[in-house]
């Protein structure tokens, strides 16, 4: 580069920490997201077991709990596997292994969509069984918390899909492919980790 | 130099500080005199909280004067003068330590009496404390006197009578939004929150004929400003008399106008919301009116209780208290009652003593 560059600089531009501005932005954004999900999860915990009427999440006074733990364990496994494929995609991107990167990205996207399919199925089933946003405090806390998580997975799927689409351009993802995929990976892993917490809090710990 | 003249001479007068002190003194006197003042002490809670408060006020005055004198003093002393360059000081560790420790000491001096007062105020009331339930409504206070088993023995509204020197514990409830129970002379406030079992316990210490004034202190909607109440602290014997009078059912009205009002009242929409014990009126939405004639105010402490004001209130309560939940009764405001009928009902209500 012949001239000095301001602002939104490429990765090789000098920064005080050595970390690219955009990656640092992602880290701080995820820090903010921690508080966002933290507040949603805290709300869930505060109201855990406070529902006045059913359906209840876990077995309650002889009534069977509405949560289908085996099914959601499966979807949790699916999302965890997507983190593995994400790692592979980052590896591929950083080492110039185009095919590996594209396939792993595709796999991550498909696993993410599968997870969303599970979630849609779960929401619909709950709806049929009479649990809605307004039914009780479990419904409100559960749907809002997992709904926002699902939205984040959806945004992640779109994010990764655009990277995948862009990688089919003649120039591919350009010289910064590894950087782009890695930054997307940070987001994806974060969303996974949040799910682990939600899964534990909602499904594994009974009321 | 022009800057100095414009900037500082007006502050340099020696009269400034004494003037300031005088203003403060007058101001505090005015504040103390006000009928709803926190500085008048008529309850043990307010008495206790003034222990840390006095400490805080003294320390606050010292700190403020220190900062003021140093800031002004340095500003004036070290103003730009020819031949005296600024001293390039970057800091002083010893000073930093000192002025870290000074606030620590001040905070400790505030914290100790604070916690002492807090624990005393929060102490559980004695088992024989009088039990009362105060319920916040938009925009009035309902008071229920309870017996030892927690059963209601008397329901009244907006005027609370308390015996001097006897501990009371008041359960604070709300049926709609958050209100706050505050009688400055007797105690600090505690909120009335729907779904929460809050309590306030205190002893009123000074009987007097005039009421202590209280007011809702949490924004509760349109007429938040008009949600007031009165506390009458009486000698125990007077209080017992009041109590036994209030427990009686209402008696039939005497006099033509009041009797007409009694009949109108029994046939009107009033009984859907109001109770007059001993009659068919058993509504529970609005204030209990069994002895409304004995109260000093109507409309939650906003109007003096007389025939004219009662009529005004009945005709169109929202005219007195914006947003009032009581529908207008006067024909002029969309209701069904004529002014003569309203006057009769007002006369009847005033007879309920």
């Amino acid at each position: 580069m012949a001239h000095a560059t301001a602002g939104h600089a490429p990765a090789h531009h000098r920064t005080n920490t050595g970390t690219d501005n955009r990656k640092l932005l992602m880290w701080f954004f995820l820090g903010s997201e921690c508080l966002f999900f933290g507040s949603l999860i805290a709300t869930y915990l505060i109201f855990k077991g406070d529902s006045v009427v059913g359906p209840f999440p876990h077995d309650h006074a002889g009534e069977k709990g509405i949560l289908d733990i085996p099914v959601t364990s499966t979807s949790t496994f699916v999302l965890l596997m997507s983190s593995v494929t994400m790692v592979l995609a980052v590896y591929g991107a950083q080492h110039g292994l185009q095919k590996m990167m594209k396939l792993s990205l595709l796999a991550t996207i498909l696993l993410g969509i599968t997870f969303l399919g599970f979630q849609t199925y779960e929401f619909r089933t709950f709806g049929h069984e009479g649990l809605n946003l307004g039914t009780n405090i479990f419904g409100a806390t559960f749907f809002v918390m997992t709904g926002f998580h699902g939205t984040h997975v959806g945004v992640g799927v779109i994010y990764l899909s655009s990277l995948l689409l862009a990688s089919f351009r003649r120039s591919g993802l350009g010289p910064e492919a590894g950087f782009h995929v890695e930054t997307a990976g940070l987001y994806w892993h974060f969303v996974d980790i949040v799910w682990i917490v939600i899964f534990t809090v909602v499904y594994l710990i009974p009321t | 130099m022009r800057a100095t003249r414009l900037g500082l001479t007006s502050l340099r007068g020696r009269r400034l500080l004494p003037l300031l002190a005088l203003v403060l003194l007058v101001a505090l006197l005015v504040a103390c005199d006000a009928p709803q003042s926190t500085t008048e002490i008529a309850g043990n809670n307010n008495d206790k909280l003034w222990e840390p408060y006095r400490v805080v006020l003294v320390l606050a005055a010292i700190v403020f004067v220190l900062v003021l004198v140093l800031t002004l003093g340095f500003s004036i002393w070290f103003r730009e003068r020819p031949g005296r360059p600024a001293r390039q000081i970057h800091g002083n560790t010893r000073l930093e330590v000192i002025w870290t420790l000074i606030p620590v000491a001040i905070v400790a001096m505030i914290a100790i009496p604070t916690f002492d007062a807090l624990f005393k105020i929060d102490k559980d009331p004695p088992a024989d404390a009088m039990k009362i339930e105060a319920i916040g409504h938009q925009w009035w206070f309902e008071f229920r006197y309870l017996d030892d088993k927690g059963e209601t023995v008397l329901t009244t509204a907006n005027e609370l009578h308390l015996p001097e020197g006897k501990p009371v514990t008041i359960a604070l409830r709300s049926v709609d939004v958050i209100h706050s129970f505050w009688v400055p002379a007797i105690s600090g406030k505690v909120d009335m929150i729907p779904g929460h079992d809050n309590n306030i316990s205190f002893t009123a210490t000074k009987a007097r004929p005039e009421p202590y004034l209280g007011q809702c202190a949490e924004l509760c909607g349109l007429s938040h400003a008009n949600m007031r109440f009165r506390v009458f602290v009486q000698a125990p014997a007077d209080f017992d008399n009041w109590m036994s009078d209030q427990k009686k059912d209402s008696t039939s009205a005497t006099g033509d106008l009041a009797s007409e009002g009694e009949q109108l009242f029994a046939q009107s929409a009033c009984i859907g919301c109001h109770t007059v014990r001993g009659t068919s009126a058993q509504g529970k939405v609005g204030p209990d009116l069994t002895h409304v004639g004995s109260r000093t105010t109507v409309a939650a402490g906003t109007l003096e209780n007389n025939a004219q004001n009662l009529a005004r209130w009945i005709r169109n309560s929202a005219d007195v208290k914006p947003g009032s939940k009581m529908p207008p009764q006067g024909a002029s405001a969309g209701g069904t009652l004529t002014d003569d009928q309203i006057a009769a009902i007002a006369a009847y209500l005033l007879s309920l003593r």
């Binding site: 997201e33 | 003042s37 340095f74 807090l118 624990f119 929150i193």
Partner: protein, 597 residues
């Protein structure tokens, strides 16, 4: 200039469009400043209406409904639309200059922050045409629930704050990265100007404090519109949850409002005392400590909600401890005056006054840190006095100090010192007349947020006094506005460093060129310009190399209009929300593919 198919061409850098499409941090700072000042005037008019109603007992100027709307909107306007963005105006304009950078890390994101702020501000303010929010700025449920406030006002509140929160979050992320990553060579963290430190601290606070508010707003939105019962006790919910979520945000928010002013004062005092800031590390660490402790004190806003004795003890202790770093700052500012050669410019007068008036607010803060005392202060006029000594005596005085100080740098022109001093004295006297008597009113038992009071309560005198004071403040603002327009008609005569200041923004021209510095400066000390002056180091000669600056872009304002549509849709028809979403998606796409050169 190449375009990618489907994206908009980069606009030309002239005329009105050059402002609409600008990504220059200085221009964005100016936009923030002008917009925020306009909102400040509007919030001030609201305040004057409130004071007029309260001037005499049983006032009849404004009815109860309008009064509730006015005090709610006064707070929202002043906090979210005036004081916060005025802070943003300063840190937008100054941060890159002070750290020797050519722009912020993400110039287009910076423009987006501004346009989203403008959109949120217009949405919130336009509520007066329908129903303005009326449940107070902390908007407690159940009053703000559908049952008790069914009009659109609360929805305006929710949508407005969500939009403004988005804007603040983006700005905060941007400045965190900028300050951490883009400092000039030699500018270590412990050489950063205190103002930049404070910007960094509030950026962190915003990044972490906004999400709890966002969650609370979402829950309120769902309770009001989608049948949930987060805050309805009969259905298992709890109104206290809102208070916790609100104040977990709300208390750090207080520091977000005051820390920029502390930063400004820490820059102004040394320059006009002609000596370095006393105890720089202590001032910086005290700022960090305030921000850190600020997270552990939110429940002191809830002492009267029936919290247990032990939690109140803990929160009271934490709150009192904040007095320690605050005291350290105040003493260090006083120490900065000691031994100086003080020039009484208008900027300096505002800063000196700040020390005193802010101290009053700080002291009354310590008073209601004590829960028994707070039992009397909470929701009374004493608290109104306290917040105004912090936010007016603190934040606003600091901001005006900054305006007089940096005006030559921002415009190349000087504000008149004569009118400036008139402005200062009127404002100083007016604010003390307005807010000091409120302490007495609080002690006399006057609750806040009442639209009327009885003659017999003896509150009339001090209320009238305060109202007169508020008009004096109003006059002082008129003097400032006259001063502003007069000076804008003067020629640009300001030299690079008219005050003989020490920080990097004074090393470049007034106003600075688009690329800020011809040569990125090298920093050798904490007060770089004084060091260079005293050591005879000449500014480096421009090398004449081409400096590439990010070109202007349509996408920030386009995306912001999408965000605004999203919110307007929630308030009116969901079709608009869908349209907003389409605009946003298109903007992201175009944004991502827009060539950077």
């Amino acid at each position: 200039m190449a375009t990618v198919a489907g994206t908009l061409a980069r606009p030309a850098n002239v005329g009105v469009w050059s402002w609409i499409t600008t990504v220059d941090h200085k221009r964005i700072g100016v936009l923030y400043g002008i917009t925020a000042f306009t909102f400040l005037l509007w919030g001030g008019i609201q305040a004057l209406l409130i004071r007029t109603q309260l001037a005499v007992p049983n006032g009849t100027v404004i009815d109860a409904e309008r009064f509730n709307q006015l005090f709610t909107m006064h707070a929202l306007t002043m906090i979210f639309l005036a004081v916060m963005p005025l802070g943003a105006a300063f840190f937008n304009f100054l941060t890159p200059l002070m750290i020797g950078a050519r722009d912020v890390a993400f110039p287009r994101l910076n423009a987006l922050s501004y346009w989203v702020y403008l959109g949120g501000g217009l949405i919130l303010t336009s509520s007066f045409f329908w129903d303005a929010p009326s449940a107070g700025w902390f908007n407690y449920v159940p009053l703000s629930g559908q049952t008790y406030t069914s009009d659109l006002g609360i929805d305006f509140y929710v949508v407005g704050l969500l939009t403004l929160g988005t804007s603040s979050l983006m700005a905060a992320l941007n400045f965190t990265v900028t300050i951490i990553n883009m400092r000039a060579p030699g500018l270590t963290m412990m050489r950063l100007p205190v103002f930049v430190w404070m910007t960094l601290i509030i950026s962190f606070l915003l990044v972490l404090a906004l999400p709890p508010l966002t969650v609370g707003l979402i829950q309120l939105l769902f309770d009001r519109n989608f049948d949930t019962h987060f805050f309805v006790p009969e259905a298992g919910g709890d109104p206290i949850l809102w208070q916790h979520l609100f104040w977990v945000f709300g208390h750090p928010e207080v520091y977000i409002l005051i820390l920029p002013a502390m930063g400004i004062v820490s820059e102004v005092l040394p320059v006009f005392a002609r000596k370095p800031l006393f105890g720089y590390p202590a001032v910086v660490f005290a700022g960090v400590a305030i921000a850190f402790l600020g997270w552990a004190v939110w429940s002191h806003h809830m002492f009267t909600t029936g919290m247990g004795t032990v939690p109140r003890t803990v929160f009271a202790t934490n709150t009192m401890i904040i007095a320690v770093p605050t005291g350290i700052k105040i003493f260090n500012w006083i120490g900065t005056l000691y031994g100086g050669s003080i020039r009484f410019t208008t900027a300096m007068l505002f800063s000196i006054a700040f020390i005193v008036t802010f101290t009053i607010g700080g002291i009354s803060g310590v008073m209601h840190a004590s829960p028994p005392i707070d039992g009397q202060h909470q929701d009374s006029y004493f608290v109104v006095a306290h917040i105004h000594y912090v936010l007016f005596g603190g934040a606003v005085m600091g901001i005006f100090s900054g305006i007089y100080f940096w005006f030559p740098k921002m415009t190349g022109r000087f504000l008149s010192e004569g009118l400036g001093k008139l402005h200062f004295w009127l404002m100083f006297i007016g604010m003390n007349m307005t807010f000091f008597p409120m302490h007495f009113l609080g002690l006399a038992g006057m609750p806040r947020r009442i639209y009327t009071y009885d003659q017999g309560l003896d509150w009339g005198f001090w209320n009238m006094f305060a109202t007169i004071g508020s008009y004096v403040i109003g006059i002082s603002i008129i003097v400032f506005v006259i001063n502003f327009f007069r000076s804008m008609r003067q020629p640009k005569t300001a030299p690079n460093n008219p005050w003989d200041a020490a920080t990097l923004e004074w090393a470049t021209t007034s106003p600075p060129p688009e690329h800020d510095f011809d040569v990125v400066p090298t920093v050798r000390a904490r007060d770089p310009l004084w060091y260079d002056r005293d050591h005879g180091i000449e500014a480096p000669e421009p090398t004449g190399e081409h400096i590439h600056m990010p070109p202007p872009s349509y996408y920030p304002i386009l995306m912001a209009s999408g965000v605004a549509l999203l919110g307007i849709g929630v308030l009116s028809h969901l079709a608009l929300t869908a349209l907003g979403a389409v605009v946003i998606i298109y903007s992201i796409w175009g944004w991502a593919l827009e060539p950077t050169d």
